[in-house]
Amino acid sequence: MNEQLTAALRAEYAAIFAYGVIGARLKGDSAATARAAESAHRDRRDSLTVLLSGDSARVPAAEPAYALPFPVTDRVSALRLAIEIETRTAAVWRAVLPVTTGERRRQALDGLTDCAVRAVRWRRVAGITPATVVFPGRPA
């Protein structure tokens, strides 16, 4: 279980880093949405850190920087990265579900659901249809 939770923590670190890059390329409502998303990922990171510390598990530190999957140079690439980040993070949270029960599974489901909903918001901002996917978090 700690392996999957640690993977979720690493994904949240990467998401927080990515939103720093994404937010810098967005304006207005989209920038505010990016700030809210970054804040949500920080909250998940904090919850995971507390949870793993309580288990006396090794809590990995964030890397100073993360390699982006593609250059983010404008609004279009920023939106693409936001969708990519939420999609990847949803998958990591989904992987926590089978190895947890009770309140921890609930937390993982909340993580998956929040990422899925944010991915839909970003697809709508980017004008991608359909904005939903059939099985959020499931590998394609």
């Binding site: 089978p98 659901t113 899925a116 839909v120 059939v134 099985f135």
Partner: protein, 140 residues
């Protein structure tokens, strides 16, 4: 003498035991409910064709979820798939309000099913719950 006054209560004393009644999979009602959700979307599109582009992907998603649940539970799809839903009453806004209510109830059912599920079904039900949350986002 004792043996002659005891009632014969077990059929196996006089013939083969009856076949045990197969226990229905606990997800069968959830699958039925999933198809009923799809039918509600269909009925709404019939009444308001202008909503087709927005709602048809959601109806398809519910049907795909039901098919995947049938596969995982080794159950047959019900025949007919779902009774036709009653068309919405009132105007378009009222129809969307009604869809939001049934989708919200469906989300709660999916969350409960995910939390109660054995490990090997948790990820699928988690994806279905997350999908329903994204449907609500599309209905906002």
């Amino acid at each position: 003498m004792l043996a002659t006054v005891l009632p014969i209560t077990g059929c196996d004393l006089i013939g083969p035991a009856p076949e045990p009644t197969p226990t229905a999979d606990p997800l069968v009602p959830f699958i039925t409910g999933t198809l009923a959700l799809a039918a509600r979307y269909d009925a709404t599109v019939d009444a308001f064709p202008e909503l087709a582009e927005r709602l048809e992907p959601i109806a398809r998603a519910h049907r795909t979820h039901a098919a995947e649940l049938n596969r995982v539970t080794a159950t047959e799809p019900p025949s007919p798939a779902a009774p036709p839903a009653t068309g919405p009453s009132g105007d378009l806004d009222a129809a969307l309000d009604a869809l939001r209510a049934v989708e919200k109830a469906g989300l709660e059912e999916a969350i409960a099913a995910c939390l109660a599920a054995p490990d090997d079904r948790a990820a699928l039900l988690g994806s279905i719950a997350a999908a329903r949350a994204t449907h609500l986002e599309m209905l906002r």
